[in-house]
Amino acid sequence: MIRQIIAITLKELKVLWLDREALALLFAMPMFFILVMSFALEGVFEAGSKGHPIEILVVHQDGGRLAEQAIADLKRMEGLILIETYEGIPLSSDKAEQLIGRGVYPLALLFPEGYTEKILKNANDPQKGKAIVYLISDPAMNLQLLATVKGAVQGAIERRVLLARIPQRLKEMFGTLGGTEGQLDNMLEDPNISERGRSGVDFIHTFPKGFNAGRRPTATEQNVPAYTIFGVFFIVLTLASSFLQEKKDGTFQRILAAPLSKTALLIGKLLPYYLVNLIQIALMFCIGVVVFGMKLGHLPALVIVSLALAAAANGLGLLVAALGKTEAQVNGLSVLLAITLSALGGMMVPTFIMPNLMKTLSLFTPHAWALAGYHDIIIRGLGIKDVLTEMFVLLGFASFFFVIALWRFRFDK
């Protein structure tokens, strides 16, 4: 029996060895997952840390010392990078909103004109005229991360306001009461005074102009598009396996012997998978709407992004069918691409909290562009003309995949 076991083991090892591409994928797959997921998830676990700082645009319309001090404090804070200029020019409110709207930066902090003056003028009673700081965020920004950053920024600014008011308040109090040490302690413990000191600044959280600011992104609006895209690319495995099976069963040979062109054969083979993708997308969004009450935004825009997304997924499927020579290769390559590209494209972790290298790499995935398109429509409330770039990029990916696939596709093997 042991000899038989050894014989089977040796045979299996030989079979594996002969299909070296599949064997390599077995090793490459976990390696890629470790690399991609670790790099991508670094952002989740370490966003806002020294190694993975959050970039915040600063619009300094005030020019006063309190805003300057707050900015200087924030600059010293670990995990934050404050950007005051863009291409050498100090940031304006419009420019900052534009950059956030394009998804280049996730956050901006705006100190409006008269901010310092207002705080100092009403130092003895902040409730009379509160100074305002605007926090402008990308509507698609992760809420947990936003809350953390907002808390840290708010704390730093309020500290500066409080410090600025204390000398004036002390002077007033000592002047009125004649001033003893005990009286000063009593005054600082007075809850009304402390409260007045803390709430001297109002934080107004807003979104860039033209975005659907009335509604905050929900978990559903984040997850439904992301996992729909994730699922759409699993068609790669089904499609590529189907080609391989047809070749193996000989049905491909019979079809090729019929009076029809190879183009007709490929279109006929791809069309059902394209339709399956579209149904898949429709169904996933229906679940979002029916089960979670998600709003879809501009429907025609959603349709064009979905059509382009399905084309890219089918193109990739044909490419895997062209490259994979065995079942093991097709399976390995499909799963590797589906998961790695999803992670890299921001399906599991938003791209803006990824390291710069990963952010750049994400632009080479159709996933990132599809997600950007869906976020523009669903979260930012944009229409067709705003997602044309995403649509054309997705069609570009589809064309690229199809061209390489047709070049490499072998009908006879």
Binding site: Q253, R254, A257
Partner: protein, 314 residues
Amino acid sequence: MMNKSIVLLEDLWKSYAEIDAVQGLTFQISRGEFFGILGPNGAGKTTTIGILSGLIEPSGGRITIDGFDLFSKPIEAKARLGLVPQSFALYPTLSARDNLVFFGRIYGLKGKHLRERIARVLEIVELTDRANQTVATFSNGMKRRLNIAAGLLHEPEILILDEPTVGVDTQSRNAILESINSLNKSGVTVLYTTHYIEEAQRLCDRVAIIDQGKIIALDSPACLIQDLGKGMIRMGFNEGIDDKLLDQMKRIGLVIVVDDQKRRIHIETDRIDEASRELLELMKTRDGLLKTLDISEPNLETVFIHLTGRNLKD
């Protein structure tokens, strides 16, 4: 029955990285002819069929089907061909009827005509009562028959069959051969590849014997056997024979030593009965040496052995 050629292959080549699978094949098939390609496994039969069916692109050469060039007018040429591949080439999860509906549609059949053709081909291959059964539940013989039915749906003028009886029992094999013979009698030109000599001898008007991608003989089975066939005595021994015995055998016929150990030899002869008797007498002097003995009248296999020194099944 036979008139002008319907299939013409001229100097057909197919080269892969290191081997030339097909080397300058040239032959023509007349309308209504039953033409066989006979050769051992790996001789280039399936590659030739692959090129004919449009699956494989040749490295060189020309194929004309009923006057249409297969490569410049593929639609017209292929419309005249019906292919029965060596593999089952069926969708196992679909029923026999659904398979036929699909293959009929890719040949442009539809509606009533398609339904009639399906009924007819199922009748030809005797699977009418199994039409709605899933192919996965079929025996190999039934799958082979359905495979033929799929190739016949569009009433092709030329039916190409690539080893259509591989892996089937004798009963199914006879049924398949009868069906193909009837089709040929009704006017369908048949191109048939096989490595079974009895099939080629029984069915074919002409046979091309190919080996290592080349035609080594082409004629009717009767002419090939008459011109090139010798009686063949195949002997196997328990141990390698000595040179003295070998010399004695050489006086009886043409001796071909099959293996280095001299444990297997073939003897070709025109006088098979006498030679057999003489050999048996000779073996009486070497008690226990003879292990196996096979005596064949001249046939296509002995023609192949005569031409190549190897068995068809090697």
